[in-house]
Amino acid sequence: MIRLLWRLLGIIGIVRGVLRAAHPPRDEDDGVDPSRRELVATPRSEHALAVLLIAGGLVLTAFGVLIALDADPRVLGGVLGIGLALLAAAAIVGGLRVVAQEVAVEERPAMGDQAARAQLADDLGRGVEGVSRRRLIIAAAGVAGTGLAAAAALPVTALGPAPRDLDASRWRAGVLLVDEDDAPLSADDLEVGSFVTAFPSGADKRELGSPVVVVRVDPATLALPAARRGWAPDGLLAYSKICTHAGCAVSLFRHPLYEPASGPPALVCPCHYSTFDVRRAAEVTLGPAGRPLPQLPLRVDGQRRIVAAGPLSGSVGPAWWGTRRL
């Protein structure tokens, strides 16, 4: 604490010094010769080096034995680390207390040699002596080079399919909503504030167009656009689960305990915290997403199962040039 106080005073000292002193001289040759050579080995330091080397060697041997015995990784790491640390100490003791201590002055090599450069230019020039149509040949070589580069680069297109239907989806009118275990979702199982993930029955769940989030809100609070009236039977809403910003799963549902304090119910993406208002057709209320989550129109069939009433309202997932704006 006292030390800290003195540090603080020190800073004041610096500022005071700063206001007083003058610019440092920038002299090039001070005539000082810093080179020196000193023999520092003592019996003690040599013994210490030997002890460290032997100890390190023994500990590392122990590591070899322990790994053969399949010891706990913490033991293995501790033993190997200590063995390496002992050898590190040995090398540092050897470097600082055993071998001759030397500070040397080396003259820096001059960068660049005028004569060699001239000679090089001359040699390069003599290589094409007597060639008269240089421009033609250079242009021709340019054509050859371009062709070679194209031949080398274009096969890269074989790596992947053309980007068609990156936002395709299997959702159509009449497709049943099922959970991760292919069981149909029942409208009666969803309470206000609950949140489940659903997939189109029979589709590949891993496709970005498949997963949707189903939530239930109080139907009286819905604020969907007029064109989407009837998309949310009994306040059941479904939106694509893949964030329109960077493709993560929108896996957080912020359902307010007390709405005036915490805002309306919202779906939130945990990657960059894009926040979508579920009552307002997943309008973006915070975060970097550029467009709402596509909505899936729903209906409830005679067995109270939840069924898609049409395709998703827009392009699924992260945007690219082919993405249609809603």
Partner: protein, 465 residues
């Protein structure tokens, strides 16, 4: 010594008569290393890379880069009998059944984190001391390229494991690729072998990148970096007898070789201790990735923090035309921002020549940061900008631990991104000018001035070298 003895016992003679190396070897052993603690940062990066290659080779003997599904069986009960990819399954095997596997995996991960810490600190040292100036512009450009490759190598590395966290990272990478105007869609499907989560070729592609193409490029560029340093010799700080035309320091043999070997062993020891004792990336806790799963509070490895920060900080702008998303949002934070930062770094030697110093002489003596207030000011501004974006990347963690609302932080950080660099430039520049006028080493000046009372009538200087 008779000639018969020489033939029989002298390895130097043996080599020299066959390879003609005694002359060059002697010069190499006399190579002089100027001493300063900050010069160890580059070496630290090199030695972390050595540990990465050693542990990575071990891991490569066991890891299976395949997205084919399999049922995993092992001693970890929550995942026993669960359907997982072979990639994730082999990462679990490495963690639970391969002897020493978890130690190697965790040491590898720690080494990657430390590798990038060392590179970043080394870059800051080089930038703030003007070490990138002529004749070292190419050395610097190679170093910046190494930083970029190391970031990509780290990202590809942890993406390989196909756990939930890596899958979320890949989704963001895919979306960022998609966001590139014009070519994005083609680029995304090209790399991912189809739309996300990708085709069966994705894992092998990431693998060959991670274990061969990128490390081989990094190794080649490290060699080029070191070769260029040796051609120009090391830079050095000003000091007694130190001039532009000489190098003062410890020769390679025997002093520096032993010190550096000690540093290699010390870095390895710390990494192995971290790998053995401090848990990192417990993939069994995250579980396998499925595109519909996500996890709150997910953070990438630290060196991607500035990119997640940029993606989060960006307002939700998207440029649209003809009903299509022409410039999707991730392009700004995921492509333009890192390109601007790396563009700034590549341009630094040129900026220094035409803006900060307005001269193009060769320099071997390093500047102290105060010696060029404008350069230091601009670097501080850039550093504050990137650091602000970086820290916003963990705003969700700050919300969880300090309860500062995320939305408030978002607006504060947006304001700070705009204001911080301006303030940083002005404060840094003024401090440099003041320090230059002071002409003193701040800490040494403190030592000379401070007297601490000890007992009545007695006093004692505090601190000091």
């Amino acid at each position: 010594m008779s000639s018969r003895d020489t033939r029989r016992t002298d390895p130097v003679a043996f080599l020299d008569e066959r390879l003609n190396v005694a002359g060059p070897l002697r010069k190499t052993l006399r190579y002089v290393f100027p001493g300063h603690w900050s010069f160890l940062l580059g070496e630290m990066a090199l030695y972390a890379f050595v540990v990465l290659v050693a542990t990575g080779t071990f891991l490569a003997f066991f890891f299976e880069p395949s997205s084919a599904q399999t049922t995993w069986h092992g001693p970890y009960a929550p995942l026993d009998g669960v359907q997982v990819s072979r990639a994730y399954g082999s990462a679990l095997d490495l963690s639970f059944t391969v002897p020493g596997g978890l130690l190697m995996r965790q040491t590898h991960h720690w080494a990657a984190l430390v590798f990038l810490v060392a590179i970043t600190l080394h870059l800051l040292r080089v930038a703030f001391t003007g070490a990138f100036r002529k004749p070292r512009e190419l050395t610097f450009a190679v170093g910046v390229t190494l930083l970029m490759l190391a970031v990509v190598e780290g990202y590809v590395g942890y993406s390989l494991l196909d756990d939930l966290l890596s899958g979320m990272g890949l989704a963001i990478g895919y979306s960022t690729a998609l966001s590139i105007p014009g070519v994005g869609g083609a680029l995304g499907t090209l790399i991912w072998d189809g739309p996300f989560p990708g085709g069966p070729a994705l894992e092998p592609r990431l693998y060959i990148l991670h274990v061969f193409i990128l490390p081989a490029s990094i190794a080649a560029l490290i060699s080029a970096h070191l070769f260029m340093i040796v051609r120009t010799r090391h830079t050095q700080f000003r000091g007694p007898g130190r001039r532009e035309r000489n190098v003062v320091g410890v020769p390679l043999w025997p002093g520096y070789a032993l010190r550096s070997l000690g540093w290699l062993l010390a870095v390895s020891a710390v990494l192995v201790l971290l790998g053995g004792l401090v848990q990192i990336n417990p993939v069994w806790q995250w579980g396998p990735f499925e595109p519909w799963l996500g996890e709150n509070g997910a953070q990438p490895d630290w060196y991607l923090g500035w990119l997640i920060g940029a993606l989060r900080l960006m307002p939700n702008w998207e440029i649209t035309a003809f009903g299509h998303a022409i410039v999707p949002n991730p392009f700004f934070g995921g492509v333009i921002f890192p390109e601007a930062v790396f563009g700034f770094l590549y341009a630094l030697p040129w900026l220094d020549r035409v803006v900060f110093t307005r001269e193009s002489e060769a320099h071997h003596l390093l500047d102290r940061p105060r010696d060029n207030p404008r350069r230091t000011g601009v670097l501080a501004a850039a550093l504050i900008l990137v650091a602000t974006v970086f820290f916003f990347g963990s705003a969700d963690r700050v919300f969880l631990s300090l309860s500062i609302p995320y939305e408030l932080q978002l607006w504060l950080f947006r304001a700070f991104v705009l204001m911080g660099p301006i303030v940083a430039y002005s404060v840094t520049r003024r401090s440099c000018l003041a320090l230059r006028r002071a002409g003193a080493h701040p800490l040494r000046d403190v030592d000379a001035e401070l007297i601490a009372p000890r007992a009545a009538g007695e006093s004692q200087p505090v601190g000091g070298p």
